[in-house]
Symmetry: C2
Subunit: 449 residues, 2 copies
């Protein structure tokens, strides 16, 4: 999505060839005997490697009432194991000139290091160690729980926009655990215990629930040998249950809410619709929604919302549509409009809905469609430049119910999208009954919905 409009003319010539994954470097995949999936993405331009382990376990897999445990455990994985001291993992990575980090989403928890290619074995040695040999003291729990609570304070509780998002998401999902924030509800985070962390760890951290992704200056056979050496000896958990989360009942009524906060300097309107995500072998609707987001509210002066609200009517200072295609279960398609000074949120929302209604009637401007098709083509090609991003793309997809074939087909699926596909997808998702509309407002503002 980092495409810059000014470069468009130049790019149309240079990117006309084969926008497929294969051009970025060979992708090889195999499984170890213990069930661990391995994906190797070759990129021999620099002697660097990205080593990632992705667990098919995220916040939406947490037991009810234990929100935040997936992310908490992510933090705790940097504590001691039977073979390492607390903090040693990152120290060793740093001492070897690398960097490491981890992240947790609703659908996965991932750990990665970027380091000189000849240190891959060392990374595997340490990562395989903490997959099964974590030691947790009560002291670790107390200390790190304070860290995640502070993280929540900073990223959520001190951000009115984040609080709005949290309340909206909870209201959007009537049944599915995506309604619970990844960071966790504070009152539940405060009670997370060593037993909770170990239960999640023992349930989900296993070679047969993990995906190893190695990207960079490596050869598949070398990765295979190292993976067998370090991860191969780990016993699988076996019989892991299918990842079935509670799904949504019919949503029969739009939910609306206003979140007022004294710290709000810029009010806005946000609408989130329940929207399908990429399904294995069936990615066209998601691809069409990716277009729809760019057409309506992409990062460009010519988006439908931007054109109408920011340029023509000057009723908004910012507008955007957002859609993240990759998740295990139904995701959201969101619209946001930040009104100009002296424009009320009622006016902003009405204007937004007028734009959508007009769009549904008029259909897609074909010139805009072709421009966006080209932009998407370009960004899919640029995505291949960064082997770390590419590795992440595989990791996210494979922990979201997709296959390597799905990942490799995605650029073509995107290029095959027609304006009719987009309008059909729009028709499907723009159902106010399956949506939540939120207003972020200054506490003192009188306006109501």
């Amino acid at each position: 999505m980092r495409f810059i409009l000014g470069f468009l003319a130049a790019i149309t010539f240079s990117i006309s060839m084969s926008p497929t994954m294969a051009s970025a470097g060979q992708v090889t995949d195999f499984r170890l005997d213990n069930g661990m999936q391995v994906v190797v993405v070759e990129d021999h331009r620099a002697p660097v490697v990205v080593h990632m382990v992705w667990y098919k376990a995220g916040a939406a897999d947490e037991p009810a009432g234990r929100s935040g445990i997936a992310h908490f455990l992510e933090h705790l994985l940097f504590k001691a194991t039977t073979n390492m001291e607390a903090g040693e993992f990152s120290d060793v990575v740093a001492a070897n000139g690398g960097s490491d980090n981890a992240f947790t989403s609703q659908d996965y928890t991932a750990y990665f290091q970027r380091i000189a290619a000849d240190r891959l074995g060392l990374m595997m040695q340490m990562e395989s160690d903490r997959m099964r040999n974590l030691l947790l003291s009560e002291g670790d729990i107390a200390t790190e729980r304070d860290v995640i609570l502070e993280e929540r304070s900073q990223r959520t509780d001190s951000e009115p926009g984040a609080l709005l998002r949290e309340q909206m998401t909870a209201a959007l999902y009537l049944n599915h655990p995506y309604g619970v924030p990844v960071i966790g509800w504070r009152h539940e985070m405060e009670t997370l215990s060593r037993a909770d962390a170990l239960a999640f760890y023992q349930r989900f951290y296993a070679p047969d629930n993990a995906i190893l992704i190695v990207a960079g200056d490596v050869l598949p056979d070398d990765v295979r040998a190292l993976a067998q050496q370090y991860y191969g000896p780990l016993a699988p958990t076996g019989n892991l249950p299918e990842r079935l989360r509670p799904s949504e009942p019919p949503q029969l009524a739009e939910r609306r809410l206003i979140y007022r906060d004294a710290r709000v300097s810029q009010p806005y309107v946000k609408r989130s619709y329940l929207a399908p995500e990429r399904d294995s072998g069936n990615q066209t609707t998601a691809a069409a929604l990716a277009y729809l987001a760019r057409i309506l509210g992409g990062n460009s002066a010519t988006s439908v919302l931007g054109q109408a609200l920011q340029f023509e009517r000057q009723i908004a200072v910012y507008s955007r549509a957002g859609y993240s295609a990759t998740s295990l279960d139904d995701d959201t398609f969101s619209l946001i409009v930040v009104p100009s000074q002296d424009v009320s949120l009622t006016e902003a929302e009405e204007a937004m809905d007028e734009v959508i209604a007009k769009f549904m009637q008029d259909g897609i401007d074909l010139e805009q469609f072709e421009r966006i098709k080209m932009q998407i083509r370009a960004s899919e090609i640029y995505a291949l430049d960064d082997v770390g991003d590419l590795a992440e793309r595989y990791g996210r997809a494979l922990t979201s119910g997709l296959t390597i074939a799905d990942v490799q087909a995605w650029p073509q699926v995107l290029q095959a999208v027609t304006p009719e596909d987009v309008m059909q997808a729009a028709q499907m998702i723009f159902d106010r009954n399956k949506a939540v509309t939120g207003w972020l407002m200054q506490e003192s503002t009188e306006e109501t919905q």
Copy 2:
């Protein structure tokens, strides 16, 4: 709540004496060695007995994604056991001149029979049998699942008001399982299996998770002997976990929704606030809320909402406030206003909020307060007349975290409520951020919130 206003003058004299439980019949309680709690309520006016078994397991105790299993199991308990044929239970009750039924709520599942007192042993024999010896065939599952689906069709899907309530409840609770309907979401009910039913049965149906309540023409020693004979031999499950459900995060924004349905003939506005329930040893707030419901919208011509909206302004044809004090976790306090012809829902809601605002400013009419205090005193005394109702009262309380002492204290707690308590409770619960407002509308009506 069946008090009739016209009788008020007459009653004030006749009910001035000792409004305590004890006057209704002696209450005796004890535990069997296997942990089963037993409550005996004596009433020797007729040779009849009510025999009830209450399980501390309701819809809010279901595993995520398995909604409806508590209620489904209630149905399945009338199938075969190792000692009885399917349907035999009810046949035997009927053949002995009794009646039987069962009910499921968020917090409990209960089974009861009303029958001649000399058949108590037979009831215990059959009820203790199905507590541990249930046999379930796949045929039972298929047949009875159709029955509960049909029940959902009739009670929920064909009732716009029930669908509104379901959507509102799901939007009110951001985290707690009370947001999931007791009957279950249809798409989850359709997948309920024999394994789901047996898992719930094996987890919760046990003497140490059950309360036996026998009310009527019985003596405690006889009940004890029979209970020991029939329930005593059942092995306890042991180590039952505490009933801790996920609780609500801070609710920061009122949710609003409109449910439109072609079948709606009478639109209305409903508001539900999150409200505390009776806590053991701490029932004053709940008692004050019980007053508040009667004061604002009780079944009487002089309620605050009725007076203002139905009589003075004639803007509404019906108004009511509702509060059910007894549940395990935070419950709801609801207001409903059904507008007169040609009054919009916007007007109806504004009028409702004006009434509340004025009430919060003016406070309670002390004459009305005294009248309601007397009504409550009367209804608490009348409640003692029906030994079945009384048994149910104990059952609901004991499965909602209360004790026998709490049940017996409740009439006095109610009588000790002051107008200040009521205003304080109103102040606490009338927080729009902890509320959902729903409109039920004809599909074709243009009005929006």
